[in-house]
Symmetry: C2
Subunit: 233 residues, 2 copies
Amino acid sequence: MHRTKVRVVDADVLDANDTIARANRDDFTRAGVTVVNLMSAPGAGKTLLLERALDGLFEDAGVRAGVLEGDVAGSFDADRLSLLHVPVAQLNTGAGFGGECHLDANMVRSALPSLPLSELDLLVIENVGNLVCPAEFRVGEDARIMVCSVTEGEDKPLKYPLMFRACELVIVNKVDLLPVLDYDIERLFANLDQVNPGVPRMLVSARTGDGVDTFRAWLAGLPTRPRGSQVPA
Amino acid sequence: MHRTKVRVVDADVLDANDTIARANRDDFTRAGVTVVNLMSAPGAGKTLLLERALDGLFEDAGVRAGVLEGDVAGSFDADRLSLLHVPVAQLNTGAGFGGECHLDANMVRSALPSLPLSELDLLVIENVGNLVCPAEFRVGEDARIMVCSVTEGEDKPLKYPLMFRACELVIVNKVDLLPVLDYDIERLFANLDQVNPGVPRMLVSARTGDGVDTFRAWLAGLPTRPRGSQVPA
């Protein structure tokens, strides 16, 4: 009597979000687009920073960028960015009672058909302004950037540790205000090193443009993937 | 043959959070303590504002205040406030993966035994810094205060509408920085009126102390409840 071979599959440890994040990532790989997830507290200046960094990114470095804007309500930031003539899609999370306080992989996936992925080299996903939940949900990105503002106080890495741990770059924005604030940047760095030792950090002022060139070069220097790259098994 | 009377109970529309919030409120009523829920984005300056407003509240107005501090991690703010010699309890939400991004009624309830409620006239609950979820969870408070900082941009009421709708007072903090910012306070007020028409608003600088007296008087003027008040049926 023949027996068919029984294949034993161990239950995957990935939860639903990670499964969808992996599917997003496979799509990004096939399209040859590098993806960054931009996170911060509300009002830290993500949008102005993006406006400044994306302006000239194609002219300077040949990088074709697009943006996925996450907000509870409205399309104020997307409208601003669309003036740069880059593809922008708006993703609103406000369908629930007060709205979702973060993007997850499934929300991002639902917005991908609105973007011409295969014509992009870089997709920036601007997350909902929040220092807690966005860090808990991978969306298929290659890198996570955390923007903090010097107006927020030096204690934030200790009070919101996961967010500052779950990123590859910390941008300290609004440094033009340092002369009028009681803010100790060395204390911020020490707090940062407590939760994410040695994480790269960059001082910028999106308003004056100070340091934006360095950030633009960082974006242009991200590892690229040629279109049609093979998806790892 | 006798029949017992059948009592028909309609399923209560309150969800679990509201049920517990009501239990908290009954406890506050019995103890004779008025409760405010203080909400803002991270770094808007809630703690410094509280330090300034509570300092002298007993001496000036005979109000005995206590504080319940909500944070993902650490007790930095509670440690600061304890210097004022008011009862302070720290409630950390970081037990989950990245921590909870808000306080809910059950978390608050778990912290109540740490506070001498019957010796207080006013309890301030400082929520986790977040512009989305704290507004979705009543905790049994009498009033909700929303603190926004002029460093965050004038668009926040439109981007996080529930938060600005679900409050009885909006405090605009850090007004000492207005001279060095491109910030249009009239635009903030117009945006505020779009989501919460006519909501009372107060301009303060917790750093310079400007406007703090007005806020202290507002706290002192909240309706009080004598200890042992009857809980409504």
